[in-house]
Amino acid sequence: MERKTKVNAEDGKQEIVITREFDLPLELLFKAYIEPEIVEQWMGTKVLKLENKKHGGWQFETSDAQGNVVFRANGVIHEFVPNQKITRTFEMENTPFPVQLEFFEFEKLTDDTSKLNMHIVFKSVADRNQLLKMPFAQGINMAHNRLQEVVNKLK
């Protein structure tokens, strides 16, 4: 099976490139990035602020089942060209991770398909590698939280 989402982190540079082709027209793909209520659905996070313009800011927040905030991220939008590109910074609050620079490029393939190129630049190679370990750590945390939920119900 061909993998639709490709991650290239091999070059030992402080960057990751994520590419994905969508069975969606370019306009719909782009919309999924700028409409707060849609972003909330697929990112699984609450959108506190999303100003889609140059010098605009954004802030996302994720809470657990008990309403405790477990993740908050923010940044500034540097470039915003509809249906073409978004350049923004990304910072996870209350973590030792330095701010990242993210380049999103949206591309039309056919009338019904499109492509996203997401290029993330980190402060250092070590910071990048640390972040690559994150989803795994998060997976464990989430499993743990779910266990906690089940246990709480038993009480």
Partner: protein, 107 residues
């Protein structure tokens, strides 16, 4: 130096990646590996040392010769490392695609 033990540093270098591909099919001596590159022999030795230090290569004494072979388990670790990250984004993008397909049919 600690950085040298970082697996990602190890596979960052194109020559080191080429070495890994070479020994993937068969165990080889340092000399045999070096003969595949234009690079000076000491440079190749240095690469082999780095790859061995971070356990991507294993050394095996065979008579007077030392053979290098791939440590498949460690290589898998590298792949496993990126895979959860890729999976996370793949899941998110699949969701995005489903949501927008519904969005399209509703308008």
């Amino acid at each position: 130096m600690n950085l040298r033990r970082d697996v990602f540093q190890a596979i960052a270098d194109p020559t080191r990646r080429a070495i890994l591909v070479l020994v993937a099919s068969q165990s080889m001596t340092a000399g045999a590996i070096a003969s595949n590159f234009d690079t000076a022999r000491p440079t190749v030795s240095k690469h082999l040392q780095i790859l061995t230090e971070c356990e991507l290569l294993k050394q095996e004494q065979n008579g007077r010769e030392i053979y290098y072979h791939l440590n498949a388990e460690k290589m898998k670790e590298v792949a496993d490392f990126i895979e959860p990250f890729r999976k996370m984004w793949d899941d998110r993008f699949n969701k995005l695609e489903t949501i927008m397909k519904n969005y399209k049919s509703n308008t």
